[in-house]
Symmetry: C2
Subunit: 587 residues, 2 copies
């Protein structure tokens, strides 16, 4: 496997053998290690000294189920700290097949505003990946669906596509990195933390992969791999949440809307209440029914990336049955819907579509709109007004620039004091005053408020790996720490986090994941080893943040959640500071 | 002396005896101690748990020369850290006469958007200060000159006035606290750090003082006081910089324009060069000549506050000889002129006037406009465009809201990476790559980039207290530390920082300051004691910042100054991090 370094100051690249010390690093472990080792913690995120790194997971590109994830890492313009965000896409598999364990993009062109595309392919003569640069200015200032369509026309269907949207070109702190889905849509995102702007700051608009002629991902022990793959597949196909026609496959991730609303943990009106009266109208069940009505039949969900057997990605349709957008995820549905008081799925669908077109993170975007609503720019519940605001982001009007800068900046510019962010990143769809464990994760993950970093929702809400009271503080620091540590590994393995539902409840599935990784590397890792692996990822990330000036005082929830009781449970977030500190202290 | 606490949740107040432990605290020492002792470091600066504190200096209100300073302190919405900013004004003397060593404003009304005035006066029956509240909504959304005029009409000439402008009402991070000058103008500012918004967040628009019937400031040893006062007066009246018809009295603080330009340390075009071709057109000498031409005679400067014998405040006139604005300070002249490439004194005068009208800090405002220029919103040098932008701030348009949020936020919103801030506060008029000592002060003062916090310009540029090479790193950490420590005391003494020019060169003047303070308190402080006093102020401030998440990593200059050489000397800022850390470590 190789490490491919691109220097954008003069558009050169080098293909390096993977250093021995990086041999077992992949996905998040790779991106976070490279950021920690090579990026000056106090550099400007959009300046020449930041680097943006792409790395497929350990088993990405193999036949392991639900494992086409690719991690993107850099110093984040949103948080100022280390960032890893990942997506499931054939692009990730391609990178693995091209034998690239890490793509590192460094420096930036002297002539700002000029963009390039990178075309990664396999050089049969050298048996190494190679890179061609092409001018990409013609793909700028356009909606991403149009860009993707032009690229497939020009380069053919063999390519996969990554890049940034208009939001990245405008240097917004809320600009994601886009990837193609299985139907060539520009809809899969490493969305969080503004990484699209880091890519654009390098003068890179697009990264195309073409795996024609490339070898398979090497597996040291194929028999063990097959065994592991089988165990994991069986677990996924058995568990109620992940099985075919199960919760995710039927209703998508938005199946959580009613569940969280019932629990009083669905934030609405900019985190001022934990229950949204419009929840049933935007829930996964309503999406399923809406699609059925508009298409005249029950339609189950599809895979976002190759080899996924959970298949939780949906498509929303217009009244006339034509496609509107893919996909209305729980987080998008909540951020652009419930949190803004919007209960119309067509408005939410349009908002998601616009985020995909402009290259915006839906979670951050929904939160910025909710702040604008609290500031009185438009009223809560105004779906059409919200659509106009997202268009302003795309156009780069002054209002659009404010919103494109993310939730914390929007709060500052409008003088709003109730701003639901940690380390500058907006909170996802779980109210920490009603679900205490996830609040600990928001506070203490190096990523800024991020549910995926330690998804305690499993036991707190879903009864996966046991059931604990979401309102209780009891045992929650250890719970969050354990989830954060195991996630440090899962995000490195190449698997989608959603395998967690199955492998937490079905021990053989968990062993299957370990088997797969051992098979690829020829290692003998135990469950303890992978927890050590995950903890090491977190330690590197925290050390980088510390050096970047993001220390313990940043491991806190915003002030207002400590004194403003949240209906209906009327709870505040009351995990003591020393308990929060013990999460990382206990690594 | 008393501590007067106002609770704005129910508009009540208490007059407390000054606690024994606070007995020798005044000015900055008092505001910083109260912030450190009482404000939760992680509270939202505009939320209910911040406090805003006013404190006159040790000798404020006495006959000590140039000593009518009042400190304002809070957690800053601009920096997120502790903030002290001070101004010279009769309001400060009044507070001292009213026997109020600290005015502490706490909490905030439940009904946002409603404003109150506080009327502080002397209650002869109780021999204590008293406070009356009056509705102040009628004074909102108006330029401050109009507000001041209405207040003097209503309450008579006996009052002094403090408050915030439209910028505070709009919760801008760049909103100063205004005070009256000696001619009842709304022109003296505790400008830095957004304290005007903290005041407004308390529902307080105005604080009027009426010292009718109030006693004098108590002096324990009057003979010693007279002696000290005489020594200091003689020093001020002798030194070339501070004497009558000397540099400051003739040309105002803008006498520095040509001096810094000559040294290659006058930042222009958003800190991209150290010399501005238009400097002679906006220098103090040009102001003096311009006034002479328009008024038909030489006019020397006036005192900004009672008892000042330096008298460096100027008035700028229109072509027809009518008053345009008071005062064009060096910092304002540079920020709104040189840094924006603007070389027209009438445009600069108008920009200063607008800042005074809207309640904005001129340093921060100039920097935000320069960032907008770098982003291409208007071209460098466009004085009329800059005037339009400041009007947008006043109106609260989206562009205005961006600029009102300060330099760092403006940089983020426009995706500008060359942002000259430390701890979120914009740099003043000395380029740290050309004057290394002041760069150390910018980096390491708890206040964010602030020249007044440790004015090493004295020896580096002016040859006051010796002469050192501004481009050399040699001995500069100790130099900055010493200046920061002594400033911690001067900012507490009630004297204007400008006494430093004289007392650094004339030992008897320095002793005079110590005598005055000992006379007021009945103490026997030595020069060592006042350095300990200053160091203690700094230690408290740094401890607060540390708890607020602003640690060593924030004691750094922005990235671009470390790799972008500054013409004409083509130097970078190359003070090593451990040297920066030694400034505070050595306290």
């Amino acid at each position: 496997m190789f490490l491919l370094r691109v220097n954008m100051i003069d558009r050169t690249y080098k293909v390096e053998e993977l250093p021995e010390t990086y041999k077992y690093l992949a996905g998040r472990a790779m991106t976070s290690t490279l950021v920690a080792d090579e990026v000056p913690p106090l550099c400007h995120p959009l300046g020449p000294h930041n680097k943006i790194i792409f790395s497929p997971g350990i088993v990405t590109g193999t036949a392991a189920p639900t494992s086409a994830r690719v991690s993107v890492g850099a110093k984040s313009p949103l948080t100022g700290g280390i960032k890893e965000s990942n997506a499931g896409t054939s692009w990730g598999s391609d990178l693995a097949h091209l034998q690239i364990r890490a793509l590192v993009i460094e420096e930036q062109p002297k002539d700002k505003g000029k963009y390039w595309g990178l075309y990664l392919s396999w050089d049969n003569s050298t048996q190494k990946p190679k890179l061609d640069f092409f001018p990409a200015d013609e793909y700028t200032q356009k909606p991403l669906a149009e860009v993707f369509s032009q690229l497939y026309q020009r380069f053919g269907n063999r390519i996969s596509i990554s890049g940034c949207g208009i939001s990245g070109e405008k240097a917004y702190s809320n600009a994601g990195v886009v990837f193609n889905d299985e139907d060539k849509r520009s809809t899969r995102y490493a969305g969080r933390g503004g990484l699209g702007s880091v890519l654009a700051s390098k003068g890179v608009k697009l990264i195309l992969t073409d795996r024609t002629g490339a070898p398979d991902v090497a597996i040291v022990d194929k028999a063990l791999f097959n065994e592991g793959q089988k165990k994991l597949s069986q677990a996924l196909q058995t568990h109620a949440i992940t099985k075919p026609k199960g919760a995710l496959n039927s209703y998508g991730t938005a199946v959580l809307i009613n569940i969280l609303n019932e629990a009083g943990g669905l934030p609405t009106h900019n985190f001022s209440r934990g229950q949204f009266e419009g929840a049933p109208k935007i829930a996964g069940e309503a999406i399923f029914e809406g699609i059925k009505q508009r298409k005249g039949k029950e339609i189950f969900n599809h895979a976002c990336s190759p080899g996924c057997i959970i298949q939780c990605s949906n498509t929303w349709y217009k009244e006339d049955g034509s496609e509107h957008v893919s996909c209305i995820e729980y987080e998008s549905d909540w951020a652009l819907g419930a949190d803004c008081g919007i209960d119309n799925l067509d408005d939410i669908g349009e908002l998601v579509r616009l985020c995909n077109e402009y290259g915006l993170d839906t979670i951050e975007t929904g939160n910025t709109i909710a702040i604008a609503m609290e500031a009185g720019v438009i009223p809560f519940g105004d779906g059409k007004g919200a659509i106009t605001l997202v268009h302003e982001i795309g156009k780069g009007t002054p209002t659009g620039r404010i919103l494109g800068s993310g939730t914390e900046t929007t709060g500052r510019v409008y003088g709003v004091t109730r701003v639901p962010t940690v380390k500058g990143q907006a909170m996802p769809a779980y109210e920490p005053r009603a679900v205490k464990g996830i609040g600990i994760t928001y506070a203490t993950t190096p990523m800024g408020a991020d549910h995926t970093a330690g998804y305690t929702i499993c036991p707190e809400i879903l009864g996966v790996s046991g059931k604990v009271d979401p309102l209780s503080n009891e045992g929650k620091t250890a719970l969050s720490r354990n989830f954060q540590v195991s996630t440090g590994f899962i995000d490195s393995s190449g698997h989608c986090l959603f395998i967690a539902f199955a492998i937490l409840d079905i021990a053989s599935g968990f062993q299957g994941v370990i088997d797969e990784c051992n098979a690829v590397f020829g290692t003998n890792w135990t469950a303890d080893d992978i927890m050590t692996y995950g903890a090491n990822v977190l330690k590197k990330e925290h050390a980088f943040n510390e050096a970047a000036g993001i220390g313990k005082a940043a491991d806190r929830l915003p002030d207002f959640m400590k004194y403003e009781p949240l209906p209906p449970h009327n709870q505040i977030f009351d995990i003591p500071d020393d308990a929060l500190d013990s999460v990382i202290g206990g690594l």
